[in-house]
């Protein structure tokens, strides 16, 4: 009824090929952005913003990165957390070496370091495929994690071995460091995520994205069609690690605010991000957001939300129930829709198109 494209005529090829060809979708996007930029800071309290929204945005960014590699190019990686770590440590080194440079610029630059490391560890992808490659990327995970502990230069020889996030201001407002308000950090996160998602969207809808998908669907066929496998795969690794790196920098600088970083970028995080991508929907940008919400935010919401609703659960028992519930939900969602939450979303939209008179 409301969601019809009837009457929307496309007069140019470009309009027909637009990412959001339907007007309602564009309105919907605007509404979501409005909620994100205005609604949530207005109605959410500090607790909600700091423990749900910021982590959600950070994980969405990382999931988009991995989705480019796994969902669009078909290369499974279990080293995402390590690449995030590279971003975080680069950002820390950069901001301590060049304290005057704008921290947001440094976050974006630190992704480049991560991209370089990603390309290096992406080299085996030429010979190795599937789960074999996944385990090969574990080499990156464990080696880099070891470096984070063992190379004191990375954390400026701090006795505690931890990263201490210094305060950095933007227009006189603290953006990082303990004095930064959750709202400020949220806006910075949101800005980065929106801009980089737009960038990713343009990449995957363009020539590069198409060659990625060709490689994913069948790399030999893609090669025969003249797509250079090496370049395509390595660029996928680079772009993916870039996103991961920025996400890592956001994670430490805007969310954790310092601490034991080697303890953060563990194999468990790598797995979690892979699961966000799968649950959300492989090869779907919006799926990355759904996946992040499901895997990262759902346990938090259950943990703090259930007691608030009066469910008499606490401490260890609640944790056990949360674990079981999340496990069961993962299985249920996979059974209902193996192609991820993104597909459910699409189905929902399709149903809505024909509502209330389905044919």
């Amino acid at each position: 009824m409301f969601y019809r494209e009837a009457g929307q005529y496309k007069t140019t090829y470009a309009a027909d090929m637009a990412v959001f060809p339907i007007r309602q979708d564009r309105i919907g996007l605007a509404v979501i952005l409005a909620i994100a930029f205005i609604g949530i800071p207005l109605i959410g309290n500090d607790f909600f913003i700091a423990t749900v929204m910021i982590p959600f945005l950070v994980f969405s960014m990382a999931a988009i990165g991995l989705n480019i590699l796994t969902g669009y190019t078909g290369l499974i990686s279990l080293g995402t957390a390590a690449f995030m770590g590279v971003g975080a440590y680069s950002c820390y080194k950069l901001t301590t070496l060049f304290p005057g440079v704008n921290i947001i610029v440094l976050m974006l630059v630190s992704g480049l370091f991560s991209a370089a490391i990603g390309v290096l560890f992406g080299l085996p992808s030429l010979r190795i495929k599937g789960f074999y490659l996944a385990v090969a990327t574990l080499a990156a995970q464990f080696f880099l994690q070891w470096c984070f502990v063992r190379v004191p230069w990375l954390f400026n020889y701090n006795a505690s071995g931890a990263i201490e996030v210094p305060q950095r201001d933007l227009f006189g407002i603290a953006v990082t460091g303990p004095a930064a308000l959750p709202e400020t950090r949220y806006f910075v996160c949101l800005g980065l995520v929106v801009v980089l998602t737009w960038f990713a969207s343009n990449l995957v809808h363009g020539r590069l994205g198409r060659s990625w998908m060709a490689v994913r669907d069948m790399d030999i066929a893609a090669e025969l069609m003249g797509i250079k496998l090496l370049n395509t795969k390595l660029i996928a690794f680079a772009v993916s690690s870039y996103f991961a790196g920025v996400a890592g920098a956001m994670m430490i600088f805007l969310w954790y605010g310092g601490g034991e970083a080697n303890d953060v970028f563990t194999i468990r995080l790598s797995f979690n991000i892979l699961f966000m991508v799968i649950i959300g929907g492989l090869g779907s940008l919006i799926g990355s957001f759904f996946g992040a919400a499901f895997i990262a935010s759902l346990p938090t919401i259950l943990k703090f939300g259930l007691p608030a609703l009066g469910v008499p659960l606490s401490g260890a028992a609640a944790e056990h129930v949360t674990f079981m519930l999340v496990g069961a939900l993962i299985i249920i969602f996979l059974i209902v829709e193996p192609h991820g939450l993104a597909r459910l979303w699409q189905i929902g939209k399709q149903k809505l198109r024909t509502w209330p008179f389905p044919y």
Binding site: V135, L230, T322, I335
Partner: protein, 357 residues
């Protein structure tokens, strides 16, 4: 449709990217070596000193290899659980690690409740069977014919569930493995050889023997029984197996149950070496390099891979680890596996990957 299995490997060096990458690797290596190059001579420390140590203290070399052998066997045991399931159902079972913990916890937990040790073993096997049936019914059957990665994801759901369930039932505190009650030997045999002593733990010897027996039994089972043949048929092709009347569902239950038995034995052995707690789950990750080294589909591969990784990482850590501060064991295994993979992308014993267009 042409078979291009014999396609020659592309000349990687012809590509600028690879060259650049190799140069980068070389620079990094040189930088690390260079950073350590001081009066004592790094090259000496890397290339000569370890071998001198091996010659001058052969007892330590023997001990290192023995340690490597034992941990290799234990890695192989975990890898075996993965391989069994991957072979028969194409599922990369992320839950194998937690199954090890869960089986060991059930055993110890039952014994704590006053069940005699061997009855507890039987009951634990019963629990693992129920688990296998449940997983088949609830998870695998509705997800039949889905891509590998979806099934992989589903096993993550199982992991989450089992963590919560296991802790809710048995509590999170670490427990002692009931080695004595199971008549597992204790103590060590100290052999005085080569001008020193080498100590063989009886429990390690037992682990090696039990693992060998189990692997032999599995091999016989696969080779000579009806179910074994059916399993191999399923591993070759699901559709062909179905068409000759093999029940996939039944096979899956059997495979998951077998993996459960393997998990229980692994749990007992690892539990005897330290204790039974949820931290054991991490050890299961060690099976991953073994898997890629040996190939996902090969039982001999899991064993040989386990031994190579076990011995390789122990030797590496013991003789070369101190040069860069130690603790390299955590990633050395993956690099060993990666080195092998670059020459055999399907692992040492894995099925040759044939790609068709």
């Amino acid at each position: 449709m042409s078979d291009i299995a014999t396609r020659p490997a592309p000349n990687l060096l012809a590509n600028g990217w690879v060259k650049a990458g190799l140069i980068l690797v070389a620079v990094v290596v040189l930088a690390i070596v260079g950073a350590k190059l001081d009066g004592s001579g790094t090259l000496y420390a890397v290339l000569i000193d370890p071998f001198q140590q091996m010659v001058t203290a052969p007892d330590l070399l023997v001990q290192t290899i023995w340690e490597g052998l034992v941990s290799g066997v234990l890695y192989a045991l975990i890898a075996l659980g993965f391989v069994l399931i991957f072979k028969a159902s194409g599922v990369f079972n992320f839950a194998q690690g937690i199954m090890v913990v869960f089986a060991a916890l059930t055993l110890v937990g039952l014994h704590e409740k006053g069940v005699p040790a061997f009855l507890a073993v039987i009951l634990t096997l019963g629990v693992m069977f129920v688990l296998a049936v449940t997983i088949e019914r609830v998870v695998l059957r509705p997800l039949v014919n889905q891509p590998d990665i979806i099934l992989f994801m589903a096993t993550f759901g199982i992991t989450y569930f089992l963590i919560g369930f296991g802790e809710a039932v048995f509590g999170g505190s670490p427990k002692q493995m009931i080695t004595e009650q199971l008549y597992l030997p204790k103590g060590a045999i100290d052999a005085k050889i080569l001008g020193g002593f080498v100590s063989f733990q009886k429990i390690d010897i037992a682990a090696a023997i039990i693992a060998s027996i189990m692997i032999a039994a599995l091999a016989l089972f696969f080779q000579y029984t009806r179910i074994g043949r059916a399993l191999r048929a399923v591993a070759d092709s699901h559709k062909a197996a179905l068409s000759v009347g093999i029940s996939l569902n039944q096979i899956w239950v059997i495979v998951w149950f077998t993996a459960g038995i393997v998990a229980l034995i692994t749990g007992i052995m690892w539990g005897a070496r330290s204790d039974v707690s949820f931290a054991l789950e991490i050890v299961a990750l060690k099976a991953l390099p073994v898997l890629i080294l040996g190939g996902f589909t090969s039982i001999p591969g899991a064993i040989v891979g386990g031994l190579i990784i076990g011995i390789g990482e122990k030797l590496g850590e013991f003789y070369w680890g101190p040069l860069i501060g130690g603790g390299i064991e955590s990633w050395l295994a993956y690099f060993i596996a990666l080195g092998f993979l670059l020459f055999r992308p399907q692992g040492l014993f894995g099925d040759k990957i044939i790609e068709r267009i």
